[in-house]
């Protein structure tokens, strides 16, 4: 680079005397563009939370677990679709090998691990590292913060549960199963997936909000989900064996998986995945009411928990 002794009309700036590579300091530029309202801010917050649930926009290590779980969720669906498409006539199949409503029940371990790992990553993290202060010091309302955080977790869980169902549905159409019937069943299962995602996200978010330490939160969520299902399944098995179906039906209320499966049986007449699905309208409504109480109750508890968080 050659120095050209130029006659400068402007006063010499500090940047101009730098020897070779010059970084031009433009100085501070104020922002005069638009400022968006609460809706747009909430949406941006929601999308970032959803991405963070799958490790996107976070460190490389954070992507490993959710991506492996998503792959493991899709793998059985992929195999089922392959068998259905290739061997439909050979095996005389005229419907899905595994019903949509049964799939989340079968893969529940993966789903439980996902919410157990990602709820603390999303919820406990802000409390533990006190990042929540940065949010509370911005226009976003406290209530909005809580609702959007849980919405992000619900959406991520819904994606995890819904993706293999979508794959199976598309495979079913490819295998020329009756389109109308499949669409109806799939949509019913999608509603079920959404309810299950809401229940799991609400429960795990609340657990994560109460246990700030990450490891503890992960363990607590897994224990709550796995133990409750094991106990419920055991009671239902015994009840069915001994002919006390009502006991089994009531027991089904106490695990999110059996609960939502029961709702699907009641609302959409989906194939049951438990020995004692709810029978009769009263029991069906009880299942539905329990889902509502679970989701709304965990939201209310979350809002209560965050009322006292100041920094």
């Amino acid at each position: 680079m050659t120095e050209v002794p130029a006659v400068s009309t402007s006063p010499p700036e500090p940047a101009a005397v730098a020897p070779s590579a010059v970084i031009h300091d433009l100085g501070y530029r104020p922002y005069e563009g638009p400022r968006l309202g609460a809706g747009a801010v909430s949406w941006a917050f929601f999308v970032t939370g959803l991405r963070h649930c799958f490790g996107l926009g976070r460190s490389g290590r954070s992507k490993v677990l959710p991506m492996i779980l998503l792959a493991l969720m899709l793998l059985p669906a992929l195999i089922l679709v392959g068998v259905l498409v290739q061997a439909k006539d050979l095996l005389g199949l005229d419907e899905q090998i595994v019903a949509y409503s049964t799939y989340p029940m079968t893969t529940q371990l993966l789903i439980s691990v996902f919410v157990a790992a990602q709820a603390p990553a999303l919820i406990s993290r802000d409390l533990r590292f006190r990042t929540i202060t940065l949010y509370l010091a911005r226009p976003l309302r406290r209530t909005t913060y809580v609702l959007v955080r849980v919405a992000s977790l619900t959406a991520a869980t819904f994606v995890l549960i819904g993706a293999p169902l979508l794959l199976m549905y598309l495979g079913g159409l490819l295998a020329e199963l009756p389109a109308g019937r499949e669409t109806g069943r799939f949509l019913g299962a999608a509603v079920g997936a959404l309810l299950l995602a809401a229940c799991l996200a609400g429960l795990s978010a609340l657990t994560a909000a109460l246990t700030v330490r990450r490891g503890l939160a992960v363990a607590a969520v897994i224990v709550v989900l796995l133990v409750s299902y094991t106990v419920v399944a055991t009671i239902q098995g015994i009840a069915w064996d001994s002919g006390h179906d009502t006991v089994g039906e009531v027991a089904g209320l106490f695990s999110p998986y059996t609960l939502v499966n029961g709702v699907q049986v009641f609302l959409f007449d989906a194939p049951e995945a438990t020995p004692t699905p709810p029978t009769g309208t009263a029991m069906g409504l009880l299942y539905l009411g329990t889902v509502a109480v679970l989701v709304l109750g965990s939201m209310a508890a979350m809002l209560g928990r965050y009322r006292t968080v100041t920094s």
Binding site: Y28, G33, R35, G57, F129, R130, T131, L134, A137, T310
Partner: protein, 316 residues
């Protein structure tokens, strides 16, 4: 219009009164907020942000009442907390972009502003690495960047030099100075280190036990006290020999901190010049080297000494 105005602002917790009927008016420029630990600095900042409701009294920030119009205040104000607040698994770049969006900037604008602001605070390539691996100095810069990303009209910096080594502290103070002067953003910066605020602020507010001890321009704190400080070079004990010689010569000399001799002076300029001459001659007569002979100025810490206020770290 004042940037910050409070009237009778009081915040009581069950055990302590953090703010006690505080009347305050803070204007543009850089205002230092000084006080011992527990003097109410952080509580004041949280009340101004609307994060903590006041027990009594009112506070207005940029013309908005913090109790009723908190969201408007928070959209115009940037806040750098005292404590750690950065998630370890995202990069500073991503965090600052996200925080810009949280203040209502569209994504593209938030990206542009984040790049600008991170450059101003001096985070270069490391801005793309997860924050978990940052040094304290880098974390403080990232915290400052997120407070500036939405181009606030006022920033509240709570102990921005906490935990920094001397070099990083100088950088941070220079940055605070630039925010107030070059960026044109009003700054309220708290510290328990008086020397720091002397250097950067135009105005100083002194809190003690939740009460306003003093609020005035920094220059008022630093006016001349009317004494002269003398430093001499020579064998050990030279300062005492000089002091004795000055007393013998009829000057009210007394030892000051760090081998200095302080000579109170009264009277007009001619009298002061005469005293200076006599000190010079005395030093020469003793065969010592005169290193300095200067007016003694007040320091902000004198306010605490005079005001009888409690422990303040006077280092830095």
């Amino acid at each position: 219009m004042h940037v910050i105005e409070t009237a009778g602002l009081t915040k009581r917790y069950p055990r302590v009164t953090a703010l006690d009927a505080l009347d305050l008016a803070v204007g543009d420029g850089i205002t230092g907020l000084v006080g011992a630990n527990g003097a109410g600095k952080s509580t004041l900042i949280k009340v101004l942000l609307g994060l903590v409701p006041a027990t009594h009294g009112t506070a207005r920030v940029l013309g908005h009442d913090v109790a009723t119009d908190g969201a408007a205040v928070r959209s115009l104000v940037g806040y750098m907390p005292e404590h750690d607040c950065l998630p370890p698994d995202v990069s500073a770049s991503d965090l600052v972009v996200h925080m810009g969006q949280m203040s209502g900037l569209p994504y593209a604008a938030a990206r542009e502003r984040a790049a600008d602001v991170l450059r101003h605070v001096g985070l270069a390539e490391e801005r793309y690495r997860p924050i978990g691996g940052y040094s304290t100095g880098m974390k403080q810069r990232a915290k400052l960047a997120q407070a500036l990303v939405h181009d606030p009209r006022l920033v509240l910096l709570d102990e921005p030099t906490n935990g920094l080594d001397p070099a990083a502290r100088d950088d941070m103070l220079a940055l605070v100075r630039r925010i107030g002067t070059d960026f044109g953003i009003a700054v309220l910066v708290s510290s328990h280190l008086l020397g720091e605020l002397e250097r950067v602020s135009d105005h100083v507010v002194v809190l003690d036990g939740g009460r306003l001890l003093r609020s005035s321009a920094t220059t008022d704190f630093l006016h001349a006290t009317g004494s002269l400080l003398v430093e001499v070079q020579g064998p050990a004990g030279s300062d005492r020999r000089l002091g004795q010689a000055l007393v013998d010569a009829g000057l009210p000399a007394r030892p000051a901190e760090g081998h200095l001799v302080e000579v109170p002076v009264a009277g007009d300029d001619a009298a002061r010049d005469a005293v200076r001459d006599r000190i010079r001659d005395t030093v020469v007569d003793l065969g010592l080297g005169l290193v300095r002979l200067q007016e003694r100025h007040h320091r902000i810490e004198d306010v605490f000494r005079d005001g009888g206020a409690g422990r303040v770290d006077q280092s830095a």
